[in-house]
Symmetry: C2
């Protein structure tokens, strides 16, 4: 059987047999980041993302944007757990004929994001490849009481996203998006969502991950799904690489969040539906799949 027949999610499931054993692993494969024992009050978070030329970007795209994306999507993963990023290691596969200028600009893009989000680049690897490949592994930490995973959504919870969706790849936004770290920290400190993740594969597919992990269903109010200008509902539901946060929150907290944001305008959270007890209420997904 070829990978293309199995698909990425099938592959991840097939690989879960190689699950961690250590008691220090609070949460392993299957959330935005791994959760590891650290100290009395905090967990360590660890995540990794690989992006490759002609899969996630092309050589015609701005190299700083490529570097930006490589680190920012990892910061988005740490944010989605409620945590704060700290240290990153960066591996880059570089074709022989690439200019030093190009690769320096990739690093520049990484460094600008690192500075903006207080991340230290502490190591890495550079190797020769036919096409550009960048892997970032990012450490972070989270106070135990602020940790949010995918499996806590309850029937009746409201579903929110942090911003308009769709068209990220076509518009180039996937090379310049701002990971929603401040929003995530605000939420875990003030309103503690019941489940949270970042939207990397598309709202529909990613919401299904929360539904599956939480053993619940969902109903979306299509009209209230925020979309970027000129984006159809279909694309808002199914396009990948938006890196907005998707979270669920109890009705009581949802109402106080709505009340808060009617007064303050620093962030805006969009209610788009509700969690239901019926696990058969999945979202019809044409999610962005890399295979």
């Amino acid at each position: 059987m070829k990978i293309s027949a199995l698909g990425e999610f099938g592959l991840i499931d097939a690989l879960k047999q190689y699950a961690p054993v250590s008691k220090a692993v609070i949460k392993g494969i299957g959330d935005d980041a791994a959760v590891l024992s650290f100290s009395k009050s905090k967990y360590l978070l660890l995540t990794t993302d690989m992006i490759a030329q002609d899969t996630h970007f092309t050589r015609r795209m701005p190299p700083q944007g490529i570097g930006h994306k490589a680190l920012a999507c990892n910061i988005s993963d740490i944010a989605a757990m409620g945590g704060v990023p700290s240290f990153a290691v960066v591996s880059i596969g570089i074709p022989k004929n690439l200019s030093v200028r190009f690769i320096k600009d990739v690093y520049k893009g990484i460094e600008l994001v690192a500075q903006a989000f207080n991340v230290s680049i502490v190591g890495g690897d550079t190797i020769k490849t036919d096409k550009i490949v960048i892997n970032v592994a990012l450490l972070g930490e989270v106070e135990k009481e602020y940790l949010v995973t995918r499996d806590g959504a309850k029937a009746g919870d409201w579903i929110f996203v942090t911003g308009p969706l769709g068209g990220s790849l076509a518009s180039g936004r996937h090379l310049s998006f701002s990971p929603r770290l401040a929003q995530a920290r605000f939420l875990v400190e003030k309103f503690k969502p019941s489940a949270m993740m970042d939207i990397s594969d598309g709202l529909s597919g990613d919401l299904n991950h929360i539904l599956k992990a939480s053993k619940v269903g969902a109903r979306l109010d299509d009209a209230s799904i925020p979309r970027h200008k000129g984006i159809s509902l279909f694309h808002a539901l199914n396009d990948g690489e938006d890196f907005e946060l998707l979270f669920t929150i109890s009705p009581m907290k949802a109402r106080s969040l709505m009340d808060w944001q009617s007064r303050k305008k620093s962030f805006y959270f969009y209610p788009i539906g509700t969690i239901t007890p019926d696990v058969k209420e999945k979202i019809n997904s044409k999610s962005f799949i890399h295979f």
Copy 2:
């Protein structure tokens, strides 16, 4: 300027301008692993290595061996700092036409090494690429008093390696080597080397890294450099991917180490030369360079 003209080490130097700023970074880019603040008694270690098809392996090589190498070379890095590995994340770039069997065997190879060295695989990423690429990022920890870096070699110190060198790529040993974790832990607990690293690019080039970091020179006793069967001195000096440890140690400790190993036979450490005060005494290197 093309990467091929600059070379890997030139590139790493060029990128050091993007150095870490956080005070929590005890040691950043430039050693086998980054050293990070962790607890009163311990440091956190973080390292990453990327291997790619047709640079480090081919599709004709056994997939389990490829997986073995991907994790084992990271464990070797943690060992070289005196530490113990704990958690890993694994990213794999997979060509569309690759069989699921192949990729499962790659993971199997990773998992067998993980089990043997008590490492938990806690997450990862799978993406589509034209050729296979594997990145492992590995966390570890080390007691503060056991940390060994590259910059502590002193004039008069003896230079040791943990095993015979050369021919790793030609023989296939690079797909089945055992990282010298037990030897490293034995050394830091009982004899505390002054500097240590693993031999990934070749003895000559890697020793020069220690000399440069420690601001010293070295003289090797060519006849005492242990070689694999049928391997010339040239290849023992310059072949990469041996993953033996290279360390320096004070003359007094060196003599008690020699005394110890004349009685016990559990490990064997090979003295191959001495550190000198003359920084101009570099090793003539034809080291394995990936660019």
